[in-house]
Each structure stands twice: as structure tokens, then as C-alpha cells.
Assembly symmetry: C2
């Protein structure tokens, strides 16, 4: 063996043994995949990855996504050995290492950067949070899309500012999950030649050999999606791996899947190729034997042989530093030549907003007949998009219904450029056709957001059921994805119970980090968008009606800017001492306003509280909250065309909740509303009953 | 044209015009797919479907699943023209039609059997609720599995009791959804030769041509899954369609996909092949023109030409009646020859339980160290399974972790039989390897349940996020699927926030029709299973710990059979007048018992209420509920390692909730619990604070 080959082997075995030791010390984790896939990832990082360990936030870096997130020890070992630096929450590089040897020694312990699964934002160098299978590969499609869009939008002759690739390492489990099929189908359609999935094909999943459940021809399936498929029959064959990556780089008209045959638990004599290598520590004796196999001192722990760190520095480090330095020079020149474009890039990288982003926000006139909030939202979206090029997105085959299309033809469709393009598509397009693929859509939106675009993803509210796993990760990653969900209640009418959300508001309000916004009329929609656009670290669900709802008279009732507080007093008793509180969100606010006027005509003092976002409201001071919902007023009626679940927070034991406890009904909107009692007369009756009860109690 | 061909054409156009008229009258619905796919489904029903319209519950009928549920008018027209009879909720046939002409005229109106999307249980002849795309095809896999299992288990020489096929009509949208990929991959692996998907390939989805997002090679993809793929280039070509169905019937070693090229809105001169034909009424002028094209009087409405109904009677009706009568004779003879097996079939068809199903349920001895509820559940499951052959299921590649394997080797694995079978698989096997395909798993379980087996489906609780759409439909269909979710809280430890459920209990409690059961120890697990097995019309989520939890001393505390009431007093003040209520579920009950003992030692009177199921509790009488949670006691502490969301129902404005408002942490269990304050000292402190507050208020 030449020195070079020996050194490569030494580095690969260092990755393996660090991973083994991390899992063994924690007595928890997944040693098998790091042992099997170490050469695959090593070859990529050392010979190909365009990545500057000193600047892990460099915008034109290649992305490496560990979709097989359970193999986290593999990634942490690489981050450590490559000397990747930690960055601050505002993306500034620090002197600290992203992962220290102490972190590795404290794998899966509180405080360590080496958490059980890779967590974006907690560990620098982790490009996206992974663990739930299929998510990483789908996110990687979003990152590849972002690169194509950035390149098409900002590159200029002699200024190839964006030209990076996106790699994702995935497992049998990733391949089995439906989300990966959705994402791969779309990536093939979009001909994302900058995308490379590396399938660590080790034939083992938790219940045993993949023979018991997964015998499809993965290569043929991906060819059917329009991918280029390359095989590497032995993960330990670096020249073959190198050739495969080169083939990817030479493929310019489609994404590439590299299928690498590997051995889970490689080097562990009794556990290799067995499911026991997957998800538990090897045990001390097996660790010793594996280390002997690798030529290690069996008593060593967390051992990094001499020359290993230097070799990483000499390869990925040196290559990355050079490329990054060149890029910085290029970007400096670009700043001079294209200052406006450069300013946009700077702005989006910091998740900023362009000046005047809100300059054209409309005000909607009072209108009893009104407008569906999906329609008013579509108008508002278009006014903001006109000011902000990197605000972009689409729907899961429902854009005509969700009203999320950017109308001006200059925006175009995001499509692979082609000669005979009837759709006018190109990679600079801002309208996305995600297809009937809600789950992939949401993960892709996260990938776009992680590359600092400002994406929105839209569908019917009911279909959040298809994509909760992806939505949840965006909340965990604290990235500002905008979800637009229309057809938000039983009032969608004839489509019936299969399409009528009931429990979905409660389900999303219960999710940590998520903001749910359900505006009550067109002007609350405007204010909702004002809130949304200023979010930097939280995703939001904007929940909108299918049916027209009244645009309230804001000269008579409070200004809609109360939306920013989450809840506000919309209509009140003249003396601000109401006898009953009417609480509602979205389309049911108008119902409460009608009831309020009826009660007023009968001399009964009510207050209407519009509560578009519980999360924003709960972020307000106790003083503000008590001013809106005075604790001493226990006569309360909450009205929402959704599960009553959770409303007791605001109604207490004794309040009334007009909501739903069953599935919906297929019938025209008005009939459905009558059937379930969503009529102002019921609100009035409930309010009176509440006042009586409350008085009796006193 | 021969008379026969003319008659076929007349029938097909009757289906088309009935569908057009239903949508037009409702001014709501989807005419395009019924118009395009009418001959495809007509050919199947009239020439192949083994179905007795007089007995739509005949166990050996072929199943037809309309996965493209938006084309409901197509199915309703067929049910009406075939004269399918309505059945009662207890599966008895009535004299009424499942769908009348009046129902069709009241399409999408309250009370009509012709709801917007097909609803199982509401409209006889609807085999499963569909509408959310991909669900129907995945359910069809479960039905095909059930047939294979029933045949392998109950057929005997000369007694082919079960030999039916399962057909599903699917759309572009079905094909794009990830769940269909998961289901198709598994169906191919299992070589389900009794399964036929019919892909209505009309190149149009809501945003326009499928060219804009869906350009994969579907045929090649399904071949990669191991399916036989057949093409019909023109949906209007009945001989070609007939040949395709015959090819399916002649294919004995794999499932079949028939790709039928059709024209959405066929016959409507201005809307055919356009997205406008998909989801809205054609409009009066276009309806007239289409009817002229079909040779109809353009002024006719809901017109059924002479001879049409008779032709349905002569084909599907006559064939079905004959086959059904033969089968009933066969089953009568089977009853004589195999009385025990026949009794099982009768029992399962009525969703009954075998005698002695609970005869071997264990009682777990008091044990402070205890046992994880996933482990005790695994033991209980095995004792019931020993008595009940049609209790069967598996996990999404997590059986070793969810403890859902049926241990006795006689049960075997459900696999396609093969010569060189190392896994001992056969279609009579009861252990299912669903692969890492949670979404398909849940829909498949529904399909198995719809064929009257008693399936369970298992995974980690966090992965309910992957399969909510399928879970929701099981609740809507009111079928008793058993979901087993383990690793139910942050106490799973090191796997960290990506794997730690937070909002999932609230999310499922908010779902109508679902029962959530989170038992507090091994003996509550026993009682939970006792409840579960007696459910006939509700699915249940059994939520279980990864970690060991104490088995409570039931001589000291109340018997665990309180589980059947959803909540019960586990430990109380000696005078039954506690000063504070401690409410908890699952693993946190023990924490409250420890706190209770601590408080008791300090002379403070507390009551511990174990609340394994809110839904069961809310079904109890007001009297019972008030006896458990006396309204006058407002000093309350709720403890649950989950989102606090929803607990205010039981704590009111003033109670304390020890829960979570953030994502979890990757660290060992004890550290995680400490970090988030799940320690008895915190419960004690909160209880004391509650007593003080409550006293001050009085």
C-alpha cells in the first residue's frame, strides 16, 4: 500500500473507532452504519466536498445531509476530524470547534453537541435535523432547488456565485418511506443535476434482512423517476467510490443515485451484517475485536492516530479554504458590479427583509359580503412578492384553490429549462408545482429555507395530516417556513368529512415552536402577513377560509393590527365592563360580531375578542392578557368550527364552547353551519346562559 | 354495432350522464373522471366483478375500491344501476337500495347517500372511505392481504371459501402520494396476485397537465416494485380493457397494474382533457353538448334508458347471484365438515370474540422496579392471540422495540410462500413485516379490518406524524384497528427531540372517534387490552413506555379495572375528602403515587386519579365523573410528560400542569426527567401551592 492509501485507511478507521467509542461510552446509539458507511462519506468529504471547515456558513458550500440521522456518530466524527468551526446563532463564525473530542465522549448526554440525532442550530455543520427517516433526502431536494434558483437568479457571466452540490446519505429506511418517493419523483422531473443521493445499501433494517419486506429494484425505480443510477459494489473500494462521485459531477441533466453496497457493523466479527449492529452498543469484547481488526490497540479509546487530523486539513480543509477565498474575492467584485443584487444576497443570507417590503400592503374596504381569506391572502402575498424576489413557493397541486400563485407572468414556473417549453419554465421561476406530494413539499420548503430562501408551501388544511413529520422538524429547527392552509373548516361544505378539518387547529397549536394564525377577515390577513414576514426563527401556519367572509368595519370595531398581539378586543361594551366575553378565531369572529350587535340591541354588554393566534397571545405580558380576558369575567363563550379540544384554557370549567366533537358533513356551507349550530342565535343564547350562570355563582 | 355493443355503450353513457347530472344539480363535485373512466369501471363490474348486488356483505365478494374518491358520482351511478341493496349497521341486508335515484339527485346534500366523497358505513357498497389521495390504494393492499390470509387459514381441499380479488381505481394524484409507493412496494414484495390497481391515466391534475410535475415512468416504477404492468391505450376500447382484466386474472405470481389512458371530461367538447373538467360542474351549455355527443336528449336529466338496468341485472347481478348461491352451499357444507373453523369465520365476520379470549390474561405482581408497558403489553397480546387466530399484525420495522411479535413459532411470518424460504413465511402467517412504511401500514391495517380481521399496527409514538391521514380515516370509518405506539414520551431518553413525542397525545385526543389509552402500569395494560378487544366500532391508540415503570401494589391502591371507566381514583384520602387532586396518565401516575405518599407522611390529604383514557372517561355519567373529580376541589395538579395542551379541561384556570411547552432533550432518561422537572418533589411542591391558593380563594 502506498502512504496515501494507508493514510486514507487510517482516517476511515478513525471515523469508525470514534463512532464505536462514542456509542459504547453512551451505551446508546447506532454503531453499525458509521462502521459500514465510513469510507463512502470519507471519500466524499476528503476528495469532493466543497466545504470550508473554517466557514461552515459559506453560502456556496456543498451541502451534506445525513438522512440516515441515526448514524449521527459518523457525522460528528467527521465534523471533529475536519475541524469544523462553530458558528453563532447569527451565523458568525467563532473560534470554537463545532464538535470537540469532549462532545464525542459525551455523545447523547445533556449539553453535548453530539446529540442522539443531528440537530440543526445546536451543532454547527449539521445542515438539517434528521432522524425520522426520509426527511433528510426530501430536505436535500429543497436545498438543490435553492441552489438552482440562486444560480439562475444571481449568477452573471463570469460570476458563478452559486454552483454547489447537495449530497444526502440515506439508508434502507429512507428508501422505504413514502416521502422519499415523492421527493425523488419531483427531483427527477426537475432534472436537479446538482443533487446526489448516496444509498448505503446494507440489506439490514431493524427487523432483520431487507429480504423480509424490501425486495424492490431500487435502481430501476430511480431510473423510472429519471435519475442517473450508479452502483458501487463495495463500500471499501475508494477508487470505485471516487469514480462514482466523478460520474455524478459529469452528469448534467438529471440527479444521481449512487447505490453503495456496504456491510453494517463492518469489522465487528460477530455483529457485521446483522441487525444487532444497528441500534445498540457493540459490547466491550466486540469492540476490542473490531479494533484489532482495524489495527487499533484494543484498549485505546477515542484514539486519533498521528497524521489523521493533518490529512483532513490537507484535503477538505485546504481545498475548502482555497475555494472559499476565491469565492469571497468574486463576491467582492460582484458587490461592485451588481450592488443591488449583492445587497439582495446579503439580505436573504441574514433572513432580512428588503426595504419597502410592506409598502404596497393593501387595506380592504368594509364589505358585508366580503372575501374569502384565501383570496385576500393571495392578494397580499402578491404585493409582498413584488418587493421580495426570494419569497417563492407553491402548492401540492392546489394552487388555483389555495390562491398561492404569483400572478405576474415575469415570475414564471420553476422548471428545468428546455427548448420546447410551453410552460415558460426555468430555474429562476418562483411558482412551484409540487404535485400531489404534501409531505415532500413541506420538507422541500424546509430545505429551501435552510438555504435562506423564504418559501411558502400550500394545500388544504386537512392535508396537514400528510406532512406533520416535516412540519414538526421545521418547528424544531426554528426556521421561518410559511405554510398556507386553506379550506380550513366544515364550512368548506360539500367535499364532506374527509376534507373538513376538525382536530387540526388543536393538533398544530399543541406543537412546540409553531405559530398558528387564523385571521378573521381580509384586514386581519394583511396584519397576519405583516407578522409572518418578520419572523426569523419560527414557522407559521396561516389558516384560511374557502368561503367568503365579511370584511369588518374597522371604523366601528378595533383596528386589525391587534393581530400582532395574537388576540385583541375587537368590539367592547361602552364602559369596557362587559358581562360576557365572546372568543373566536377566523370565520367565527363575524358570527360573534353579529351576536354582539344582537346582544347590544337587547342592552346586554358583550366583548368580542378576536384570537387569531394563541401562541402570539401567550407571548404577551400578563397585564395585556388580563386586559383582553379579565380573569374576573367568567361568563365566556368560545366559538370555533373545530374540535373544542384546548379551548378550556380560555373558558375554564364553566365557560361554553361552541365547537365540534364529531366529524363533519357533506352539504352546502350554510346547511353544514346550521346543522352544527354555527349561527348567531346560538351564540346569543349561550352568552345569555353564561351571564345567568355567572350571576348565580356570585 | 351489435346489440351487445350498443347496449354496453348505452350503459356507459348512462353512467356518464348520471354523474354529469348529479354534479350539475349540486353545482359541486367532479364530473371529469366519471366521464373518462366510465368504460374502465363498467367493463370491470359487468364482466368480471364477483359481486352479488343483493348481498353486498358477502364475505367472498371481490372488492372494488374507488381510490380516486373525488369521482364518487361514478361509484354511486354504478351502485344505483347495479341495484346494490343497503345493509344495516349489523351487516344485514335490507330491502332498500344502497343508492336511489333520489340520492343521486341530492348528490352532496345533507341526508343523501351520495356524499361528496364515498363514506364507508353510510353508503352500502362503499368498501372504504376515500377522498384523501393514496388512501384507497393502500387500503386495497390490506384487503388483498386479508383475502390471502383467510384463504390460507380457512380454505380446505374442495372448499375454496376465499378466492376473491381486490381492484382499486386510482388517479394521477394517488400515484404521486408517497403512501401509494409504500403500499405498492410492499404489495410487490408480498406477491399479492389477487390485487389489481387500475390507473386512470388522464394526464390532468388540478394545476394543469401532469407534464408540469409528474413525468416519471409509472410503468417502469411498478415493474421495479415487482408488479405486472399492462397498458390499455384507450379507455373506450372495451375489448382491450377486457383483455387487460383477463391478463390480471391469469397472473398468479404478482400484483397487476393496468394503466388505462383516458380523457378527463370525455365527451364535453370544450372541457375534455382540461383541468376545468376536474372539479367543478360543466355548466348547462357544456352539459347539453356532452349529452348530444352521447346521443342523449340534451334536455333530459337523470335519464336511464330502457334496457340499461336489465343489462346490469343480466350481467353483474346474475353472475353475482349464481356465484354467491354456490358459495353459500359450499359454506353450509363446510359448516358440517369443519364446524370449528366455520364458527371462527362466523365470529370474525360479526367482529365477535372467541369464548375464553380473556381466559389467560395475566395479573402482574407488585414490583417497584417494574416493567415497561411495551413489555407487559407484548405479553398480554400474546395471551390473547393464542385464543384468537384472526388477531394479527406487526410493526413498521420496529417489532423488536414495540414488542409486538407473536412469539410462538407456529404463528409464522406473513410472506409469499416460496421454496427456499428461510423465514418460514406463508400467507397464513400472523406476524407482518411492514417495513419502514408507517403510513401504508396504518391504511393496510384498515383494509384488513374492513375485511373483518382484527389487525394491530405498531411503531414509535412519534411516527404517528407519518400516518395521521390513515389513522383519521379509521376513526371516521368506525373500525376497530388497534394501534400500538411505544416510546411514548421524553423518557425514551437518548434518541432526543426528533424521537420524543410532545404534542402527540393532545393531537390524537382531539381526533373525533379515537380512543387514546395510556396505561400506568402492567396491570392497567391488562385492563386496557380488555377494553380494546371489546371495541367493535372505534380504533384505539395504545400508548406505551420504553422505560420500565413500577407495577403498583393493587392491594394498597385501587384495582386496575378502573381503566374501563377511562379515569379512576387510584389512591385517596382516608376520608375521601382530599385537599388536592393529582391527575396523571401512564408513566407519570407512579410519580404522583410517590408524591401522594410523601404528602400523606406530612399529613396532607391528596387523591391520585389515574386517567388512562380521556375519551372513555367522558363517556361516563356526570355522577361518576364528579365522584372522581369533585367540582368543588379546585386544587389540582396534572402531570404528564407531554404538551400541557388540553389539560385545562381538568385543571381549570387555576390548577397546575406539569407538562411540556418545548421539544425534548437527548440524554439518559433520568437526566431528561430531572431537566424537565418530572420528579416527585415538584409534584409535592405544586400540590402544596395548589392547596394554599385554593384556601386563599375561599
Amino acid at each position: 500500500m502506498t502512504d496515501q492509501i494507508q493514510l486514507d485507511q487510517l482516517c476511515i478507521n478513525t471515523i469508525r473507532t470514534l463512532s464505536i467509542d462514542a456509542v459504547e461510552k453512551a451505551q446508546s446509539g447506532h454503531p453499525g452504519t458509521p462502521m459500514g458507511a465510513a469510507p463512502t462519506v470519507y471519500c466524499l468529504w476528503q476528495r469532493f466536498l466543497r466545504y470550508d471547515p473554517e466557514h461552515p456558513e459559506w453560502p456556496n458550500r456543498d451541502r451534506f445531509v445525513l438522512s440516515a440521522g441515526h448514524a449521527s456518530a459518523l457525522l460528528y466524527s467527521l465534523l471533529y476530524l475536519s475541524g469544523v468551526k462553530a458558528t453563532s446563532p447569527s451565523y458568525e463564525v467563532t473560534d470554537r470547534l463545532a464538535v470537540t473530542l469532549d462532545d464525542l465522549k459525551n455523545f447523547r448526554q445533556a449539553g453535548s453537541r453530539c446529540t442522539g440525532h443531528p440537530e440543526y442550530g445546536w451543532t454547527s455543520g449539521v445542515e438539517t435535523t434528521t432522524g425520522p427517516l426520509g426527511q433528510g433526502v426530501a430536505v436535500s431536494v429543497g436545498m438543490a432547488i435553492a441552489e438552482r434558483w440562486l444560480a439562475a437568479t444571481y449568477n452573471r457571466p463570469s460570476y458563478e456565485l452559486f454552483e454547489h452540490n447537495v449530497y444526502a446519505l440515506c439508508s434502507d429506511g429512507d428508501m422505504m418511506e413514502g416521502i422519499s418517493s415523492e421527493a425523488a419523483s419531483l427531483a427527477g422531473h426537475l432534472k436537479l443535476a446538482n443533487l446526489c443521493w448516496i444509498y448505503d445499501d446494507n440489506n439490514i433494517s431493524i427487523e432483520g434482512s431487507t429480504d423480509i419486506t424490501f425486495t424492490e429494484d431500487v435502481a430501476a425505480r430511480f431510473a423510472a423517476y429519471g435519475w442517473h443510477v450508479v452502483r458501487v459494489d463495495d463500500a471499501n473500494d475508494l477508487p470505485l467510490l471516487t469514480h462514482a462521485y466523478e460520474t455524478f459531477l459529469d452528469t448534467h441533466d438529471r440527479p444521481t443515485l449512487i447505490i453503495v453496497r456496504s456491510h453494517i457493523g463492518y469489522g465487528a466479527p460477530h455483529k457485521q451484517d446483522r441487525r444487532e449492529a444497528h441500534g445498540e452498543a457493540l459490547g466491550p469484547e466486540e469492540v476490542r475485536l473490531a479494533k484489532e481488526f482495524f489495527g487499533w490497540d484494543p484498549d485505546s479509546q477515542f484514539y486519533v492516530p498521528e497524521g489523521v487530523s493533518a490529512h483532513f486539513k490537507a484535503q477538505i480543509g485546504s481545498r475548502g479554504a482555497t475555494k472559499h477565498a476565491t469565492w469571497e474575492q468574486l463576491f467582492a467584485a460582484y458587490h461592485s458590479q451588481y450592488p443591488d443584487l449583492a445587497k439582495q444576497i446579503d439580505c436573504l443570507q441574514l433572513r432580512g427583509l428588503p426595504e419597502n417590503w410592506d409598502s404596497a400592503l393593501p387595506t380592504f374596504p368594509t364589505d358585508q359580503k366580503g372575501i374569502a381569506t384565501r383570496d385576500s391572502s393571495g392578494k397580499v402575498l402578491n404585493t409582498i412578492a413584488a418587493q421580495m424576489p426570494w419569497l417563492l413557493g407553491g402548492a401540492a397541486d392546489l394552487a388555483p384553490s389555495t390562491k398561492t400563485e404569483l400572478k405576474d407572468t415575469i415570475y414564471g414556473n420553476f422548471q428545468a429549462p428546455r427548448q420546447d417549453d410551453n410552460e415558460g419554465g426555468n430555474y429562476g421561476g418562483r411558482n412551484f408545482h409540487f404535485g400531489v406530494r404534501e409531505h415532500a413539499m413541506c420538507a422541500i420548503a424546509s430545505g429551501m429555507s435552510l438555504s435562506k430562501l423564504r418559501p411558502y408551501a400550500a394545500s388544504f388544511f386537512i392535508f396537514t395530516d400528510y406532512c406533520r413529520a416535516a412540519i414538526r422538524l421545521s418547528a424544531m429547527m426554528q426556521i421561518p417556513v410559511i405554510y398556507i392552509w386553506t379550506h380550513d373548516s366544515i364550512s368548506l361544505g360539500e367535499d364532506g368529512p374527509t376534507h373538513q378539518p376538525i382536530e387540526h387547529l388543536a393538533s398544530l397549536r399543541a406543537m412546540p415552536g409553531m405559530i398558528v394564525l387564523r385571521p378573521a377577515d381580509a384586514n386581519e390577513v394583511v396584519e397576519a402577513w405583516r407578522v409572518i414576514m418578520q419572523l426569523k426563527d419560527r414557522p407559521v401556519c396561516l389558516v384560511l377560509t374557502r368561503q367568503a367572509i365579511a370584511t369588518l368595519d374597522r371604523t366601528k370595531y378595533a383596528h386589525a393590527n391587534g393581530v400582532s398581539c395574537g388576540a385583541y378586543v375587537l368590539a367592547d361594551a361602552p364602559d369596557h365592563k362587559p358581562d360576557v366575553l365572546l372568543l373566536a378565531t377566523g370565520s367565527e369572529v363575524s358570527l360573534c360580531v353579529t351576536a354582539y350587535e344582537q346582544l347590544k340591541s337587547e342592552g346586554i354588554k358583550a366583548r368580542v375578542v378576536s384570537m387569531p393566534s394563541w401562541e402570539l397571545f401567550e407571548n404577551q405580558s400578563r397585564e395585556y392578557r388580563d386586559s383582553v380576558l379579565p380573569p374576573e369575567i367568567t361568563a365566556r363563550v368560545a366559538v370555533e368550527e373545530a374540535s373544542t379540544f384546548g379551548w378550556e384554557r380560555y373558558t375554564g370549567f364553566d365557560g361554553a364552547i361552541l365547537g365540534l366533537r364529531t366529524f363533519g358533513l357533506s352539504a352546502p356551507t350554510k346547511i353544514v353551519e346550521q346543522h352544527f349550530g354555527f349561527e348567531s342565535a346560538h351564540v346569543v343564547a349561550a352568552a345569555k346562559a353564561q351571564i345567568t350562570r355567572s350571576a348565580l355563582k356570585k
